[in-house]
Amino acid sequence: MDTDGALIERSVRGRPDAFVEVVRRHEVAVHGFLARRAGGQAADDLLGEVWVRAFAARGGYDPGHADARPWLYGIARNVLRACWRARRDTGPAAAEEAVDPWDDVVDRLDSAARARLLAAAVAALPAAEREALLLVAWEQLTPAEAAAALGVPQGTVRSRLHRARSALRPVLAPIPESAEEKK
């Protein structure tokens, strides 16, 4: 079976329809990426835009990368940010926090107490740490793949992951033990 890289290279070299196979391979995953961050309706609306942007940008893809998923997540992330900017009418120079969708995500989360605690702790993370963490936890990317999706060095992602996990550990401490400590 051809790698994503081979298919994308073929699509650049006179067979643009080869790109559709790449989309078929990853469409459920990319829809999930969008849905987890913006809700199902927004994912439905934005998925086509991701494919069109990816198709237009495929000439810059390194065919040596067999799996296109990190690259596609990076494009989906840019599409989401553009959408949030447009919705909030904040202008192109808005800070990253101004387009942070986490409040919307929290609203969709399970109401179980521990899940809410964890969600609150994740919400309190700096956006850059949260993005790195969720690319690994939700999209099952390796740190190297998450770095590719975010366009930052691997070491940066590893540092962000370390800080994020350290920040979440207190939330994950067993509740009975905490009660015992108070006695």
Binding site: D17, F19, V20, R24, E27, V28, F55, V122, L168, A173
Partner: protein, 79 residues
């Protein structure tokens, strides 16, 4: 709780928080339609008719038929 156990439990909880429903029927196909429009445009601008016997040709032909259909509707008499 050790750091490793906390990380493992945290990863499990986070995965649970990230569960979403699969796309509804037709959503993926609709998104692919947007892509096919871009693909067909590039193929047409390059003077291609699509790969012999492949899905590309079928889609390119389908695109042409749609365009023809639109043109036919335009020639239909109005009410």
């Amino acid at each position: 709780m050790t750091d490793e156990r906390a990380d493992a439990e945290g990863a499990g909880l986070l995965r649970a928080l990230g569960q979403v429903a699969p796309p509804a029927p037709g959503v993926l196909e609709a998104a692919r339609e947007a892509l096919w429009s871009a693909v067909a445009e590039e193929m047409l601008s390059a003077g291609q008719t699509g790969p012999a016997g492949g899905a590309g040709r079928a889609r390119a032909a389908g695109t042409d038929r749609s365009r023809d259909g639109t043109e036919r509707r335009r020639t239909e008499p109005g009410p």
